[in-house]
């Protein structure tokens, strides 16, 4: 009988610091005391504490030990698991937020006030064990859908729930599925977009690492609703751990028969394949992703036709973000009305945010839609780092907008943010204190796009390059007022004429930065960087242009 469970942090950072060895040592030590059948050791994704890696979380008490060294293991096992008392010396230091949580309360939020739908199992179950997923209501929604509901009913439930795409655009998922379902023919595809490359965003990675089966179940439900029997997960090439977990999950699901042919003894079959990318930000754009999936350069296609009409192999394809799909099982299980009860009227549900920058606590939170940025910083972020004053925040990754203090109290959901000239995007919240320079920030953001532009269309390829050059001049104190005017003219032009979302998103940060912080740009023209960050009055470095030309013999 299992009476205790030891969860060792299995995220990439911990693994790089010997988490695997910790697990082996833990198992050996347990065997020494003859406890191997009473204590189960496993890996988990994360619990929201990044400062104590690698850690061990011991259930049922929820005691958190960390950071752990290999030499700590014998004492930990002897004290806690053999003698049954807390090994005080190894306890993780108190959480900055509550002042005490070295013991995590059962799960009702690692941070209070969180409401978890997508991440409700992450950190609680062993992602490498399908039985634990099933024990936490996993695959119940799929079973219910396939045996008790028609595809049209599943589709209607998702439509009624108002679930919006969580990749950044916020397009209603049910509507997209409706397009696919309405297309004639049997050959349709569900593609899960796990090419998460937006700087500052890593929610999808943690979902895939912490609860991979939820994504698989969401895809199968999408397949049932749309009439598709094949699914692809396009995962970032850099996410090796997430890929391993998802491949193992698929294998386990097929062995148990919750994926594969004739699910739950019905006519519905669903197969999922994994395709790993090879490093290209633009492949997060859905048509570029499909090109890459077909083994080509990841360059966006002309639209229309949109993927729901002609996608993978020119067949109807629903491309959905990881977080969107992970929401679906809960919606089917609990109903649309339940989901509408969370979040705001126009944007129901929860949103997973990544908190970064000058806050005391960085990491991942899942909160209802409509929370304000001030709440995020004060409640979850533990306030600004070093008592700095808030200067600005960048929401939604590099393609998102820069938010001035005036927007701190605006409820964050897709519609409200848009009405205020900002965007919610992928959910990255990069908070900057007063010691950060807006020109420097804008330069770094634009440099990212100039690097990642695929080169297909001129406005994006050259427009981002020109804007980087201007920003580089400004940060070196060589900019002019005409440069600022040029930025203001060029930015909307690049948005209006670019081929895909990459070029259309690139200038958003510069437009919003100029709108809120024009005085600071002008100060750079006058020759001073108020924050003292920029390398003023030094020569502008030559921008090396690298092209890997090669002649074939």
């Amino acid at each position: 009988m299992i009476r205790a469970r030891v969860m060792i942090s299995g995220d990439p950072i911990s693994l790089a610091h010997g988490a695997e060895a910790l697990k082996l040592a833990m198992e050996a030590e347990l065997a020494y005391y003859g406890l191997e059948n009473e204590v189960q050791v496993g890996f988990i994704g994360q619990v929201g504490r990044r400062d104590v890696l690698p850690f061990a979380l011991v259930y049922p008490e929820g005691t958190l030990y960390g950071p752990l060294r290999l030499s700590d293991v014998p004492f930990l096992v002897q004290e806690h698991l053999y003698k049954g008392r807390v090994a005080e010396a190894l306890l993780a230091p108190p959480d900055v937020l509550s002042g005490k949580i070295a013991r995590l309360p059962r799960r009702e939020g690692v941070l209070y006030g969180q409401q978890r739908v997508v991440l409700r199992r992450a950190g609680l179950i062993d992602p490498k064990n399908i039985e634990e997923y099933i024990a936490h209501d996993g695959y119940f929604a799929l079973g219910k859908a396939v045996t008790e509901m028609t595809p049209a009913e599943v589709l209607q439930t998702v439509k009624d729930s108002g679930l919006q795409g969580r990749g950044g655009a916020g397009f209603p998922a049910g509507v997209k599925w409706g397009f696919v379902a309405a297309q004639p023919g049997d050959e349709k595809y569900i593609v899960c977009n796990a090419d998460e490359s937006e700087p500052g965003t890593f929610k999808d990675r943690l979902i895939l690492e912490g609860d991979p089966h939820a994504v698989l179940e969401g895809m199968a439900l999408a397949g049932y609703a749309c009439g598709a029997s094949q699914g692809w997960i396009y995962i970032r090439g850099e996410y090796t751990l997430a890929k391993e977990r998802i491949e193992l999950a698929i294998q386990q699901a097929e062995e148990l028969g919750v994926l594969g042919n004739n699910l739950f003894e019905s006519d519905f079959s669903f197969h999922i394949h994994v395709h790993a990318g090879a490093g290209a930000y633009v492949c997060g754009e859905e048509t570029a992703l499909l090109e890459s999936l077909e083994g080509k350069r990841g360059i966006p296609r002309i639209r229309p036709p949109y993927p729901p009409v002609q996608g993978y192999h020119q067949k109807p394809t629903a491309v959905n973000n990881v977080e969107t799909l992970a929401n679906v099982p809960a919606i089917i299980q609990n109903g649309a009305a339940w989901y509408r009860g969370i979040g705001t009227e126009k944007s129901p549900g929860t949103k997973v945010y990544t908190m970064l920058g000058d806050v005391n606590v960085t990491g991942l939170i899942e909160v209802p839609m409509g929370i304000t940025l001030r709440e995020v910083i004060e409640v979850y972020g533990g306030g600004m780092k070093g008592e700095l004053a808030f200067k600005c925040a960048q929401t939604g990754g590099a393609a998102g907008s820069i938010i001035a203090p005036a927007l701190l109290d605006v409820p964050m959901d897709f519609a409200t943010m848009q009405a205020n000239g900002a965007s919610l995007g992928s959910g990255a919240l990069l908070v900057c204190g007063e010691d950060k320079c807006i020109v420097d920030l804008a330069y770094v953001l634009m440099r990212f796009f100039a690097t990642e532009s695929c080169g297909k269309c001129v406005p994006c390829r050259l427009g981002t390059r020109r804007m980087v050059e201007i920003l580089d001049r400004l940060r070196h104190g060589h900019g002019t007022l005409e440069d600022l005017d040029a930025l203001e003219i060029m930015a909307p032009q690049v948005i209006a004429t670019s081929f895909c979302g990459l070029g259309q998103g690139a200038p958003v940060s510069i437009i919003t930065a100029l709108r809120h912080f024009r005085a600071e740009f002008e100060a750079h023209v006058a020759g001073t960087c108020p924050a003292g960050v920029c390398p003023m009055h030094s020569p502008v470095a030559e921008q090396p242009v690298s092209h890997a030309y090669l002649a074939f013999a």
């Binding site: 990044r50 965003t201 395709h275 090879a278 991942l364 960048q394």
Partner: protein, 157 residues
């Protein structure tokens, strides 16, 4: 050219032109870079135009068409890492290794490259060396880290 490696990779994905991206990525990982010879062999086996194979190989950041150093150091240059002190780490890397970003040291020991976001922003600045990721870097930590890989990091300087 390593034919066993080719066989293993092709067995993994089949001789499917759609798997080109994955095949090239795996070959790159095993060989360090994609030589002309290797790309031509892939093109022939998949019956694809050589130009197509090269266009794919030169597009993705995880593939290289030029040889790289023995140790490959990648550093994220995006806003979250930058804000968290990435610029100082960046300078320390260039200074310690004696090469600029995008370069390989003359002795072929180190290659320094820029990476786009690695998705580990909560522990930025992030540096990746030979596929292993190291977070919360500072100039001092990164110098100590480089020594681990090579007793006299900076020999190139």
């Amino acid at each position: 050219m390593n034919t066993t490696l080719m066989d293993t990779v092709f067995e993994r994905y089949g001789s499917d032109a759609e798997a080109l991206v994955e095949i090239l990525r795996d070959l790159n990982q095993a060989e360090g870079y994609l030589s002309q010879e290797l790309m031509i062999a892939v093109a022939d086996r998949l019956r694809l135009p050589r130009g197509h194979v090269f266009s794919v190989a030169s597009f993705y950041s995880m593939m290289n068409v030029k040889p790289r150093g023995q140790h490959v150091v990648l550093m994220c240059q995006d806003a979250p890492c930058h804000i968290a002190g990435g610029r100082e780490v960046w300078d320390a890397l260039e200074e310690t290794l004696g090469i600029a970003f995008g370069e390989t040291s003359p002795d072929g020991k180190w290659t320094l490259e820029v990476a786009s976001c690695l998705g580990l922003c909560a522990v930025g600045p992030v540096v990746q060396i030979d596929g292993e990721v190291y977070g919360n870097m500072t100039p001092d930590k990164v110098r100590a880290l480089l020594v681990r890989f090579d007793g006299d990091a900076g020999g190139a300087a």
